[in-house]
Symmetry: C2
Subunit: 298 residues, 2 copies
């Protein structure tokens, strides 16, 4: 890898920047960032890399382009870079849902240009380049999306890149990716937002000081519900079919729990509560557990 | 306080035992425990206190009795201790819901005996005396329940006790307690169980390796869903009216989120996602936040 362009230098963009620089993964790192406030932060923090004012300068001089903006920015950026991108340049992104992005790429990206989607499973409820860390990809999964037109050589280049970044690579289709993460990540985040919303509604109605007593569960949901709203709106919209199905399954199960509780159905509720315990043993066995819960944060 | 009897020496009972002994809060500490496995653990760990074989011995010699068993054990135990308890002995408990316990006490406890309910806001997804710690009450809220017949002097005795244990005391009615904790603790736990249940159902249907990719949210819900099933069944059953209302509010809000997502209602969803962020600032302002989420665990 000679030169890399990072488009959007927030939490993950700046983490990549730090890591690529530290491990000397590229000769030059270019940064394209439209937020003046983020540029000021990058300069103040003396982060590595060259801030380019024109997207063209970054694109023309890079072998790999990594989209680290909210997914809703992709279309606009694709239309811009179509004017000067060469087929030698590989594009990837770090978006959390894939089907919709795949459609946008197919519809808008100039023919002959290679874009292989990536999804490193990491993040934080805090945003911005000041919160980035060079080690947030370490030993985390990075999903690489394989589509019909994905070439083996580009897949190799990208796999090698993410391994250098510290991730463990796994290859998947867009459909499988969006299904799996609708359950393991998108629904949990929506549920957290929804729980906090419900607590707010309750507090407003009852005027009880709820948050003071939030340590028994609510507090930690509130952490997830503080995640970046643009990023999560994009995920919810882009993966709406899978998330919608996940919501239906969740509500169906919750209504069954309610029925069991109201009927004091001892046998049925104990069976459920015992069965869910097994998931935890499985997660521990798969070495996916950590000392303290962090919702995929670092 | 001269002597204290702890009935049920699991996670919280043994934590109290350790703390009372360490801080010399009582002259003698008696332990009544029906599980042979727990007794063996207590002996092996050389925990302080005197294990009594008969409940009578413990009750007759104690000034304070603390029920640390699952709430579904209270009725049976009350009927037993009625035979020998004196009105000089104060009883408390550490149950997580209060209305139902209040009814059981009123119905079954011998007249003239004082029972003031307590609820220390702490716990863990692990159970048993081997997991207890002397510091798990430090700076945590302990709710003390005030009812019509609660005397000021007993309230003072109990407040002093919990403060010595390390808790911050707050006094509340049963109704207010059960409403607040239905939202801040009971619903979050039910939601966690329900999310894990939904993930299991999905995994079974799709045969996708979900748990491997659980780091993005699901993993940390699985931790809560590994909590003791008897304790949580008791809470869900005992606070069913409030929990049932909380479920309805939660489902109503979740359906509205679904509607916004399916309609790609940008304005409405951003409003919600931004508003929920404010709860987190509030929790931080109230000093209820910690470095890493722990769902009220230590």
């Amino acid at each position: 890898m000679k030169n890399i362009l990072i488009i959007g230098c927030g939490l993950l963009g700046s983490s990549l920047l730090r890591r690529i620089s530290k491990k000397k993964i590229a000769k030059k790192i270019f940064i394209y960032e439209k937020s003046k406030s983020n540029i000021a932060k990058i300069k103040k923090l003396k982060l590595p890399g060259i801030i380019v004012k024109s997207l063209k300068d970054g694109v023309l001089n890079s072998d790999l382009i990594i989209f680290c903006t909210p997914m809703s920015e992709y279309k606009k950026l694709i239309i811009k870079i179509n004017n000067f991108i060469s087929s030698k340049t590989l594009i990837t992104d770090i978006g959390s849902s894939k089907i919709e992005t795949s459609k946008i790429i197919k519809k808008f990206l100039k023919k002959g240009i290679h874009w292989i989607q990536s999804h490193p499973i990491t993040g934080s409820e805090v945003s911005g380049p000041e919160h980035g860390k060079d080690n947030i990809f370490d030993n985390k999964w990075c999903i690489i999306i394989k589509e019909k037109n994905t070439t083996k050589s580009n897949l190799n280049i990208l796999s090698k890149f993410w391994k250098k970044v510290g991730s463990k690579v796994v290859i998947m289709t867009v459909e499988k990716h969006d299904k799996i993460f609708s359950i393991t990540s998108h629904l949990p985040h929506l549920i957290a937002y929804n729980l906090v919303k419900s607590a707010q509604d309750f507090e407003k109605k009852q005027s009880y000081p709820l948050m003071k007593f939030s340590a028994g569960g609510l507090r930690d949901f509130s952490r997830i519900a503080a995640s970046n709203e643009i990023m999560w709106r994009d995920i919810f919209f882009n993966n709406k079919n899978n998330i919608s199905k996940a919501i239906d399954l969740f509500i169906k199960n919750l209504n069954e729990f309610k029925k069991d509780i109201n009927a004091r159905n001892n046998k049925s509720i104990l069976k459920k509560l015992i069965k869910t315990k097994k998931v935890r043993s499985k997660i521990i066995r798969l070495k996916q557990d950590i000392d303290k819960p962090d919702f995929g944060r670092n």
